[in-house]
């Protein structure tokens, strides 16, 4: 019997290996040398301190969205609405960043982050409440909320929050004091990365060391049992949804205050969904989330430069990401199927 660490490692690596093999076949078909391309990928993402900084910068939003997703997944709530919370939180933070008087100085940053967390928490409170009280399918409700978030933010940045100086679809730039510090200039790696790592750390502690983390893992595995030992499944479901929203919102704040300094259309190129892939790949484990975020960050940062230097389109990177996600999900499906079969015996 393998140790649980080894098993987790295999569970993490297997989807990756398969995805890279499949993409390799694809590369051969389009007449490229996969070994060359892959070594280029590694080089472009980890080759120098600048490249590493770029990779970590790209992984920053994923740390938040993966934690936000994992909080719900381990409780059995299939929340796909982190993207929405990320957008709402991002706009909220950016709003604080340019709207609050500059005299507030550095205190704008914590205010903006807290505001973003509150917005995100409220945002996912609603689907959580609907799920807990009326068993409204959380996949549908959170997915729909994503579209609403896109529409609301889209309206605001075209209307009330539109920058008076720029064209359209963009807010004013935040005050300089509201910007998160850059860690390794000239790269865009910013203080949000540290915040992201702290989120993962807190998430890990919450999973292993808190009563509510204990409860949420139990309801993820067996709701009837949880009820029988006195755990309120409803309250716990609402709690994890709100926590997920808070982390998602703070992720948006980090991205707005650290990376873009404003909110524009396409603020998130699907960070919520890539975070979901990371959470699945990591099986919700904190260490897995860090590794997965860096991996997907590497793919994203190297992908753009590879497109510049070779004939490989960025789409290939998306294909690799998609394949990893599919295989990660297959593994999950197989595990839960086995559980179900055992339960029936």
């Amino acid at each position: 019997m393998l140790s649980s660490y080894a098993q987790k490692g295999i569970g993490f690596a297997l989807p990756l290996i398969v995805a890279f093999l499949l993409s390799g076949v694809l590369l051969v078909i389009i007449g490229e040398n996969p070994v060359k391309i892959y070594s280029m990928l590694v080089d472009e993402s980890f080759g120098s301190s600048r490249r590493i900084a770029a990779t970590l910068s790209a992984s920053t939003p994923l740390l938040f969205t993966a934690v936000a997703t994992a909080i719900c997944f381990r409780s059995g709530a299939f929340n796909v609405g982190v993207e929405g919370a990320f957008l709402i939180g991002g706009l909220g933070a950016v709003f604080c960043g340019f709207f609050l008087p500059v005299q507030l100085g550095l205190s704008i940053i914590p205010i903006a982050i807290i505001f973003a967390g509150i917005l995100g928490g409220i945002w996912l409170y609603f689907p959580g409440y609907l799920l807990a009280k009326f068993e409204v399918d959380e996949v549908v409700s959170t997915l729909m909320l994503n579209f609403i978030a896109i529409a609301i933010t889209g309206y605001l940045i075209n209307g009330p929050l539109l920058s008076p100086t720029s064209g359209n679809n963009v807010t004013p730039v935040i005050h300089d004091v509201a910007k998160l510090p850059r860690l390794m200039p000239p790269s865009t790696l910013h203080g949000g990365f540290i915040l992201g790592l702290i989120s993962v750390l807190i998430y890990g502690l919450w999973c292993n060391r808190s009563s509510s983390g204990f409860e949420s893992a139990l309801i993820g595995l067996n709701q009837r049992f949880s009820r029988a030992v006195g755990i309120s499944v409803q309250k716990t479901l609402i709690l994890v949804m709100v926590l997920s929203g808070i982390i998602g919102g703070i992720g948006g704040a980090s991205h707005g205050l650290g990376q873009l300094y404003r909110f524009s259309d396409g603020f998130s190129p699907g960070y919520g969904f890539t975070g979901m892939a990371v959470a699945l790949l990591a099986r919700n484990s904190p260490i897995g989330i860090i590794a997965g975020s860096i991996l997907f960050g590497a793919l994203a940062s190297a992908g753009t430069t590879i497109q510049l230097f070779s004939d490989i389109p960025l789409d290939l990177i998306n294909i690799i990401q998609g394949t990893v996600m599919i295989f990660a999900v297959i593994e999950i499906a197989r595990l839960s199927l086995r559980k179900k079969i055992r339960a029936e015996l």
Binding site: S211, F214, S226, A228, V229
Partner: protein, 515 residues
Amino acid sequence: MKKKTEALQATNVHKSYGLVKANDGIDLQIFSGTIHALVGENGAGKSTLMRIFQGIEKPDLGEVFVDNEAVNFTNPKQALKMGIGMVHQEFMMAPDLSLLENLILGEEPLQNNLGVFSRINWTQARVEGDELAKNIGVSIDWERKANSTPVHILQFVEIIRLLRRGCRIIILDEPTAVLAPPQVEELFNLLRKLSKSGTTIIFISHKINEVVAVADYVSVMRRGKISFSNTIDNTSISEIAFHIVGDNEKKTNNLKGGDRNIGDILLEINDLSSNTINKSQELSAISLQLHSGQILGVAGVSGNGQIELLECVIGLRGASAGSINLKDQNITQLGVFDRRRLGISYVSSDRANEGLSLSSSIEDNIIAGSHRDSPISNGHTLNKRIMRATAVERLDRLSVKYGNLNETASSLSGGNQQKLVFAREISNDPSVLVVSQPTRGVDLNGIKAIHDIIIDFASNGGAVLITSEELEELQKLSDEIIVISNGKLVGRVDGQNSDIKEIGRMMVVQGGGNA
């Protein structure tokens, strides 16, 4: 009824799941064209036997004969081919399809055989359906959607579907559980007609009145064996009831009788009623008192409200009227968490899904419920060291055998799983222990250990409310036994000096099967 040929026969069939012998040498003959009732408590082995007949399970030992020919099914398709089909309690219907579509689903009559491009011959399907419905004397609106069709019609469609597939032996698993009395009569007419035309029917039921009303033969299963088999004409309701509840009546097992001090009232239930949710039995106006040091047994044919009563006490099920008091405190409106805090514990009958979280670690299973209590937790954060020490201490207290705290609870044997449940439930020194099916699926040594736990608990001043399908177990443990039938309290007898026959009569005859 003589000189019948055997349609289906089992000889010396054995089937074990781990240590549990679900079928322990079954010999059963089912004669062609008869209605053969199979009765027995849950866990007696009926389902296992039916699964073997259907080719879902393979017997460990023994043989099954169809038309006197030995068969060796490896999958359900083969059984279906030999003409054996089953109507399950949960109908196998696609709710959004019409009845006709459901009828032919999986075996559609085709107009032309072009593989995936074949077209369904709806005219023929309709003709086949009408023909079969006419033969068994029912009329069916085939265009109706399954989800808007009354449940007894769905049952007819299920039967017709099996007939269309050429089934000659039809197993019905508690078919009347979902039916109202007039519909039951309609179903019985249909079954009689079917059997007259040569179809063999195996009728699984808990309700002895119905068995006597419709069956030609009856077999009673008990603890994996056929304990009784006869023609209906040569037996009686009370004889069947007697065999269901157990045949060794006067066992002197007065081991622990009467040496406990019965003290103050700990739990008092007044006129408790509860509504039906999802086919559960409703409770009406149940009153009882539970004293310190007392073990109160709840007897009844399964599905008559015992589980529901216990769920009301722990708080998993709401009361629609009446009150529950724990030591003078009205707890009727409290949830599970508060009731557990006040000193009620619960051992579920469904160990695999409610008593334990099998895929969680042993540690999590033994700690769950106390994860907000000091010193394991300060209410928010866990002290892992104390948590682990507490887990070990609790498991050791009832000598649960386990390998590693991090292994899943499913790695334990049935007996140790149940001991784990008890270890958790008595760990906070509750005053009232609510127990359902304490020894289901537990081997003999485990049973003794668990009985000792329960008796110890009561001897130390706790109160136990316990239900079990093993009447002997109830009799052995209980100071007093109340009998429930159809959600009503119908009798009350002294524990040790009770007569099993008398309890059995109260369980089945009074109020009885006829819902």
